[in-house]
């Protein structure tokens, strides 16, 4: 079981490494450095204006610590199939779960250290707390996290869905008291309290686990939702296959669907627009490139460079959308419809044209702020020409070569 954990962890690291290459790409890193620099600069400016001690400093630190405490969950790396294949190994699974629990402490520990470090200058100005206090706070925070992870492990054995929120409330209530004691009385008092709690937990846990049954469904569901959060974060930067197949109803987009009502000729428009708006992959791609293009255009002062960049972005988006044409090829029924094949091409053409026009409108709206009216007019003409050439000439020609 320990080996299984090691293996899962290796797989997980490999996967995360793969995604981190996309997330932490050069542009993003540059942006992050600039952002951190700006943040540090305004932080130090802010500190210059403060005159300590401030009555609200400690309550603020308490809130920050509580938010920090909510960071990081018990990562079990359990998979759906485990509920079937690992069933006979239920007792041995505990070793796996314990290893997972220990591992789950590392990331929060690093985040706590960083954030407490970042708070040091503030507390030096605004409170009477010393760096030694922070060390004590770190110990208290980590011990609380440790307890929280124990409780999460315990919950996967004794889960009663109605009690999840009550238990969470109890934990955060206790944590608030202990952190308040550490801040206002002494971190040592906090450490003593948290140590008592820890000892109690460790005494209690083996006794509860001895007769408890592992709640497979509950544990796997939790892990899936944890991974989903992670994937959603990554999905802001790149496509995650686990998410790409996902379909969302997105009722708020339904007004847009009115355009596809009508006769036989609109059959494929009906399909394409719904698939586009409710899927994840292509709409995500479109929005990412749209935002990126708009941000870049904002920083381009010369109108013709902006126009050219805009046109390149129109081409990029359109080109990335081309595989969407074949999205229904796997569906047998599509081949049986008594609809002329040319209708499919036309419907797709309309979709891409609509999307590119919308993109051009957004770009034009960005450009209007820092250019003269005539420059703006020329920009619009170039973008419209690009949309026309791409959707009426170039893309249909390319699509006719495919099926």
């Amino acid at each position: 079981m320990k080996q299984l954990w090691q293996q899962r962890l290796r797989q997980h690291h490999k996967e995360m490494l793969k995604y981190s290459r996309y997330v932490f790409n050069e542009f993003f890193m540059i942006a992050v450095f600039i952002f951190i620099g700006a943040l540090a600069y305004s932080y130090s400016n802010l500190l210059d204006t403060l005159q300590g001690p401030l009555w609200w400093a400690k309550p603020l630190i308490l809130v920050v610590l509580l938010v920090l405490l909510s960071f990081g969950r018990w990562a079990t790396l359990l998979q759906d199939a485990d509920t079937l294949f690992l069933l006979p190994k239920e007792r041995a699974l505990l070793a796996y779960l314990l290893a997972a629990r220990r591992y789950s402490l590392w990331l929060p520990a690093a985040v706590f250290a960083l954030c407490l470090g970042a708070l040091l200058p503030f507390q030096a100005v605004a409170t009477t707390l010393t760096p030694a206090n922070s060390l004590g706070l770190f110990a208290v925070l980590l011990a609380l996290k440790d307890g929280q992870l124990w409780l999460q492990l315990l919950a996967s054995y004794t889960a009663i869905p109605q009690q999840v929120n009550i238990r969470r409330g109890l934990f955060y209530g206790t944590a608030t008291v202990i952190l308040a004691v550490s801040l206002w009385v002494s971190p040592w008092a906090g450490i003593v309290l948290v140590a008592v709690g820890e000892v109690g937990l460790r005494w209690l846990i083996p006794r509860i686990l001895a007769t408890a049954v592992f709640q497979w469904q509950f544990a796997v569901k939790n892990e899936n939702s944890r991974m989903l959060q992670l994937y959603r974060l990554i999905n802001l930067f790149t496509d995650v296959p686990q998410l790409s197949g996902k379909v969302h109803r997105r009722v708020y987009l339904d007004p847009l669907l009115r355009w596809t009502k009508g006769g036989q000729a609109k059959t494929f428009s009906y399909l394409y627009l719904r698939e586009f708006l409710r899927g994840s992959e292509y709409i995500g791609l479109y929005l990412r490139l749209l935002v990126l293009g708009a941000v870049i255009l904002w920083f381009i002062p010369v109108w013709w460079v902006a126009a050219l960049t805009g046109a390149i972005f129109l081409y990029l988006v359109g080109f990335q959308l081309l595989p969407f044409y074949q999205i229904f090829n796997e569906n047998l029924l599509v081949h049986l419809y008594p609809v002329a094949p040319i209708q499919k091409l036309r419907s797709f053409q309309h979709l891409v044209q609509g999307l590119l026009l919308l993109q051009a409108v957004v770009f034009a709206a960005v450009i209007v702020f820092n250019h003269t009216l005539s420059q703006w007019g020329l920009f619009v003409i170039v973008e419209l020409a690009a949309v026309f050439l791409l959707t009426q000439v170039y893309f249909p020609q390319r699509l006719r070569q495919t099926k």
Binding site: G262, T267, Y270, R274
Partner: protein
Amino acid sequence: MSLEVEHLTGGYSHVPVLKDLNFTIPEQTIVGLIGLNGAGKSTTIKHIIGILTPQKGTIKLNGVSLASDPEAYRKALAFVPETPVLYPALTLREHIELTIMAYDLDAKQAWQQASDLLVRFRLDKRLDWFPANFSKGMQQKVMIVCAFIVPAELYIIDEPFTGLDPLAIRDLLNVIKQQKARGAAVLMSTHVLATAQQYADSFILLSEGTIRAQGTLPQLKQKFGMNDANLDDIYFKMIDEAAQ
């Protein structure tokens, strides 16, 4: 004459799976397509619905072939696949709307038919759900509803009974009978021989890509010289003969 298949030879690659099939399905008849796994049932169906092209021979529906008038041919045909094929991003209501658009149906009439079928298959409360998340049996029902709102000349149903509950099987058979009474022809492939024997007017027994026998039950009994036999007995006899 509804469907006429003459000298059909075909398959996925150059090696033909089907060898010289000849059969007709007249209007107002239900024909059972029977054979072991791999006998060529699905390949035959794929040729008729037009996603495979014959290497030799012709397939005509009401005298029209797919090549001569694809839209008329496709309009005359409705298909319920063995494994449900659904659009993940479309609700049940939208699946029906799409079928109405694609087959150019009269919306009012088709919706009337659809609500009748939806009630019958107990789907009427789920119009705004995604059928892609339904159970296999319920997805099958969605496919049935979408196929039978099309007033086709020929219905092709691949393995209709697997995954359906007994009530749904009964309802499906009633729908098939209604369509037959209206004048449609029905081709269904199945392994459930008892049901086929009860509801089909005639049978096509396929084995290794050729038609071993076809006709009504009395005709088959005569051919195999088994007077008291049911379809099961004849089927097993055919397989045993083929093995020898």
